[in-house]
Symmetry: C2
Subunit: 179 residues, 2 copies
């Protein structure tokens, strides 16, 4: 497995900036604007890292336009698609809860879902059209989905990921404030 | 004021599809991908309408690529930027609460904000770089902002709008279930 911490300037950050124990697995995403935008969202919400299928994608202008330099501040790890299951196995052994963002018959609605407050979290985002492949769905601990009310079948992948990350961050900070 | 309901096929919708009393004012947005994407988000979450500065924008290919046909299902109203205050005055007289999504010294954090359950809501999204201009900030009932943890100053406009719409929809459906 190739896993390179591309850039990690955490040491230069203000100590007050909070990092969350959340890794966003974006290796299935294919569109550069979604990947660039999601990098920005992950950085803004203090995710600890994001995975990507091919690190060369972040050299693309289209990616960089949407990432607005977030790629310099967020650790980005290369995890190829063929290697995702192995990566998830390793992360599970490191006590991560593995959550898939996908509409399935068993998915829990995000508005009712409670992230485990004491576990580190992996959030897997599906491919833009086909979502999360079955072999990975079978591997996750749980799937969550965002209830929808329209004619259009689903939200943009980056948007649905951002809403889910927001829910996670909100719950974690509530827990932090309480403890 | 020019206000054209462009396309409203609500009559053809399944009655079970819920519409919310939420109008998203996107007239300040300038980038076609943000406008197209936000149209999709508004449609998926059952907003009642979206405003746009110039209806001709929705004929653009870049807009349509992101809207994925949502423009056929969501009422889109033209409200020009120079006419926004007048539009907001009219909507206030129709008992809308007017909420700006903007980082200001008086903004309430979204995670603590409670949308008024019995009022119709206008949500104003700012320009991509400069946000909501002062004359409109002075006119809103309240500003909300999304707490952020990163080095990057702010989320993408479409993403922050989507997170706020999600919070609104979640709260409204909780109220509906309770009542």
């Amino acid at each position: 497995m190739t896993q390179n911490d591309l850039i990690n300037k955490d040491d230069t950050l203000d100590g007050a900036k909070r990092k969350h124990d959340l890794i966003v697995v974006a290796s299935l995403l294919e569109k550069l604007p979604n990947l660039g935008g999601l990098t920005r969202t992950c950085e803004v919400f203090g995710a600890s890292a994001m995975t990507i299928h091919d690190l060369r994608m972040i050299e693309n202008f289209e990616y960089q336009t949407l990432a607005v330099t977030a790629q310099y501040w967020l650790p980005i790890v290369q995890v190829e698609r063929w290697n995702l299951i192995q990566y998830l196995k390793e992360m599970r052994s490191k006590h991560y809860q593995i959550i898939g963002l996908e509409q399935t018959t068993n998915s829990l609605p995000l508005n009712e879902f409670v992230f485990h407050p004491d576990k580190k979290t992996i959030l897997i985002i599906g491919k833009e059209r086909s979502g999360i492949p079955p072999e990975i769905i079978n591997f996750v601990d749980i799937c969550v989905e965002i209830p929808q009310f329209g004619v259009i079948r689903s939200l943009n992948a980056h948007v649905s990921a951002s809403i889910t990350i927001w829910e996670y961050v909100k719950q974690m900070n509530k827990n932090v404030q309480k403890s």
